[in-house]
C-alpha cells in the first residue's frame, strides 16, 4: 500500500494523474525536464524534481534518472502515464526491482502484448476473435509463405511483430508483390524495432476502429467498461473519439467484452488496459492490446461515471474492485477532440506562445489541459495541448454540444487543429455515425469541407 506517487510524464496527462492522486489523498511527486519547469502541474505538485534537459531521451525516457528521482524523493510508486515508458517492459521490471510499485500490469504482461504475434496467440487462446491469419511469425520458405497467403486470401497485410500503433505494416494486393513487401517490412522492422519477425493477416478494406476498456484487480476480478470508437484517424493518429461505439448490437459487444475479461484473467492482467479491434460487417477482429492508460479514457469516464485513473491507482495499491460487471452501465454519449498545436492546412506543427486561451464550458463540457494563456508550447514533445470532452443524453445531443463548445474555444498565438474539428463535427457521414478508419483521410484528400 503506497501513499506517494511519482508521475513519470508531462502535459495534460501529468495533470490528470495528479488530480486522481489528490482525490485519493496521495502525495504527488512530479518529475520534469528543463523545458517543463514552469508548467502549472509542476507548481502544484507536493514535490517536483528536474530530471534532465528538454529532449525526452535525456529526461522522460531516462530510466535511471526516474528511478533515482523516486529514491531521492521517497516515492513509493511510479505512474508512467501514456507514451514514453508506459509500455516498456524493462522499465516496469526495473521499477519493481527497485522495490517500487509500477502502476500498470506486470513486466511479463507488457512483454507478451508488445510482441504482436505472442499477443495474438494469447488472445486466440482466450477466445478473443482475431484477424484471419496464422498466430506465428512467417517462415523463410517462399513456397510456404505463398501457401499461407493463399489460405487467407488477398489482399493481405504484412506486419512487424515488434510494431504496433500503425507502424511497420504493408498491404499486399496480389501474390507477385508478396515477397518484395515482406523483405522491405523485415528490414524496416529489424531497424526500427530490433526484431525482424513479421506475420501476415487478412487486410480489411473498410473497418472501424473499436476498442474495449478493461480494468482488473490483483484478486482475479476483471471488468469491461464499455466501448470506444476511434475511427477518425490521420496517419494512424486518433483525432476524435467517442463512447459508446455507435451502431454495434449490445449482445455482440457484451460477448466480446466478456472474452476480453476472460483474457485478462488468463494472463493475470492488472490495472487498466485496452483491447483494440477492427470491426467490419458486425465482426470483431483483435489487433492489439494497449497495456496502459489511454489518451481517450475520458469518454469512458463520462459514460460509465467512473474515475478510471483513480480506479487504476486503487488496484495498483492492492485494493479489490468494489463494483461488479452488473453495476457497469453506459449512460448517454461522449466525444473527445484532441486539440493539437498544428496548422491543419499544411499539417505543420505550430509550437510557440499561446497569447489567447478561451475555453468552452457549461453543462456536459470538460477540458483536460495543462496549457493556459502565456504558456509556451514546446517543440520537443507531442503537439497535443488539450482534450475537449463533451457528454450528452444521446449521440445527437452530445454532438450538438460539441459543435457549440468547439466554436466557443479560441486559441491564438499558435495554430491549432480547431478548424479541422469544427468541420468534422459538421460532416454529414460522421454525424450519421459508423464511418470507417479511412474516412478522415478521404475527406482531407477531397479537400471538401473536412
Amino acid at each position: 500500500m503506497f501513499d506517494s506517487v511519482l508521475i513519470a510524464n508531462r502535459g495534460e496527462i501529468a495533470l490528470r494523474i495528479q488530480r486522481a492522486c489528490r482525490g485519493l489523498g496521495l502525495k504527488t511527486i512530479v518529475v520534469h525536464s528543463e523545458a517543463d519547469r514552469d508548467a502549472s502541474y509542476v507548481r502544484h505538485a507536493d514535490q517536483a524534481i528536474c530530471i534532465g534537459p528538454a529532449p525526452a531521451s535525456d529526461s522522460y525516457l531516462n530510466q535511471a534518472a526516474l528511478i533515482m528521482a523516486a529514491e531521492v524523493t521517497g516515492a513509493e510508486a511510479i505512474h508512467p502515464g501514456y507514451g514514453f515508458l508506459s509500455e516498456n517492459a524493462d522499465f516496469a521490471a526495473r521499477v519493481a526491482q527497485a522495490g517500487l510499485v509500477f502502476i500498470g500490469p506486470s513486466a511479463a504482461c507488457i512483454r507478451v502484448m508488445g510482441d504482436k504475434v505472442a499477443a495474438k496467440r494469447a488472445m486466440r487462446a482466450a477466445g478473443v476473435p482475431c484477424v484471419p491469419g496464422p498466430d506465428a511469425a512467417l517462415p523463410d520458405d517462399p513456397s510456404q509463405i505463398h501457401y499461407l497467403a493463399r489460405q487467407i486470401g488477398y489482399p493481405v497485410i504484412v506486419k512487424a511483430a515488434g510494431g504496433g500503433g500503425g507502424r511497420g505494416m504493408r498491404v499486399v494486393e496480389q501474390e507477385s508483390a508478396l515477397l518484395g513487401a515482406l523483405a522491405v517490412t523485415r528490414e524496416e522492422a529489424r531497424r526500427s524495432f530490433g526484431n525482424a519477425e513479421v506475420y501476415i493477416e487478412k487486410f480489411l478494406g473498410h473497418p472501424r476502429h473499436v476498442e474495449i476498456q478493461v480494468l482488473a484487480d490483483g484478486f482475479g476480478h476483471a471488468l469491461w467498461l464499455g466501448s470506444r470508437d476511434c475511427s477518425l484517424q490521420r496517419r494512424h493518429q486518433k483525432v476524435l473519439e467517442e463512447a459508446p461505439a455507435p451502431g454495434i448490437p449490445d449482445r455482440l459487444l457484451a460477448e466480446v467484452g466478456a472474452r476480453c475479461v476472460d483474457a485478462c484473467r488468463q494472463i493475470g492482467y492488472l490495472g487498466l488496459g485496452t483491447f483494440e479491434f477492427l470491426v467490419e460487417d458486425d465482426a470483431f477482429y483483435f489487433i492489439e492490446m494497449n497495456t496502459r492508460l489511454q489518451v481517450e479514457h475520458p469518454v469512458t469516464e463520462m459514460t460509465t461515471g467512473i474515475d478510471i485513473v483513480q480506479q487504476q491507482i486503487r488496484v495498483a495499491r492492492g485494493e479489490r474492485l468494489t463494483v461488479s460487471q452488473a453495476d457497469i452501465g453506459c449512460r448517454g454519449h461522449a466525444f473527445e477532440c484532441r486539440i493539437n498545436a498544428e496548422d491543419t492546412e499544411r499539417f505543420m506543427p505550430s509550437p510557440g506562445v499561446i497569447t489567447r486561451w478561451e475555453l468552452p464550458g457549461g453543462y456536459g463540457v470538460r477540458v483536460d489541459s495543462h496549457a493556459s494563456s502565456g504558456y509556451r508550447v514546446s517543440p520537443y514533445y507531442d503537439s497535443m495541448i488539450a482534450k475537449l470532452i463533451v457528454h450528452g443524453d444521446t449521440r445527437d445531443d452530445a454532438l450538438a454540444r460539441l459543435r457549440i463548445a468547439l466554436d466557443e474555444m479560441q486559441v491564438e498565438g499558435i495554430a491549432t487543429n480547431l478548424p479541422l474539428h469544427r468541420r468534422l463535427v459538421r460532416d454529414a457521414a460522421f454525424a450519421a455515425g459508423c464511418v470507417d478508419i479511412h474516412h478522415l483521410e478521404q475527406r482531407l484528400q477531397e479537400g471538401s469541407g473536412a
Binding site: 499544411r346 499539417f347 510557440g352
Partner: protein
C-alpha cells in the same frame, strides 16, 4: 489571405526598392514580382497537397535581399539540425555553392522534420546557428551570397 493583407503587402513593396516579395500564411503563398517599369503584380496560389509519406514538409527559406546577400530564416519555432543525423556531415558548409531547392538544414518540431531549402542559387556565406539548438520562427540561420 485577406484582400486587406494583400493590399498591405503591395503597398509595402511599392514603397520599397524590392523586386520580389514572397509571403506564406495559412497554406497560401503570395508572390509579388516587380517587372521593369511596372508596379508589383500579385500572383497568388494555394499550396499543393501537404501529405508525404515521411511526414516531411519542405519550406523554401524566407528570403529577402540585403546588402550582404540572401538571409535564410527559420520557417517555424523548433530545433535546427545542420545535418541529416548527428554522425553525418552537415548539409552545407560556409563557402559551399548551393542550388535553388538544395536542403540547407532541418527544423524539427513535435517529431516532424521540416526541410529548409535554398530559395535560389548562391554561395553559403555564413552559418549563424549550431546544430541542435532551439531557434525562434524568423530567426536568421544562414546568409547566402
Amino acid at each position: 489571405m485577406e484582400l486587406k493583407q494583400i493590399k498591405a503587402f503591395i503597398d509595402a513593396m511599392a514603397s520599397s526598392d524590392l523586386s520580389e516579395l514572397e509571403a506564406s500564411k495559412d497554406g497560401w503563398t503570395l508572390k509579388l514580382v516587380r517587372r521593369a517599369g511596372s508596379t508589383p503584380t500579385p500572383r497568388s496560389s494555394a499550396e499543393g497537397s501537404p501529405s508525404s509519406e515521411l511526414r516531411e514538409t519542405e519550406e523554401s527559406a524566407a528570403a529577402s535581399s540585403g546588402e550582404s546577400g540572401t538571409e535564410v530564416r527559420a520557417p517555424l519555432y523548433g530545433l535546427v539540425y545542420l545535418g541529416p543525423s548527428p554522425e553525418a556531415p552537415p548539409f552545407v558548409v560556409a563557402g559551399q555553392a548551393v542550388k535553388a531547392g538544395d536542403i540547407l538544414c532541418i527544423i524539427e518540431a513535435m517529431k516532424v522534420f521540416n526541410n529548409v531549402c535554398a530559395a535560389r542559387d548562391g554561395i553559403v556565406e555564413r552559418i549563424l546557428v549550431e546544430s541542435g539548438i532551439e531557434v525562434e520562427a524568423g530567426q536568421l540561420l544562414m546568409r547566402i551570397a
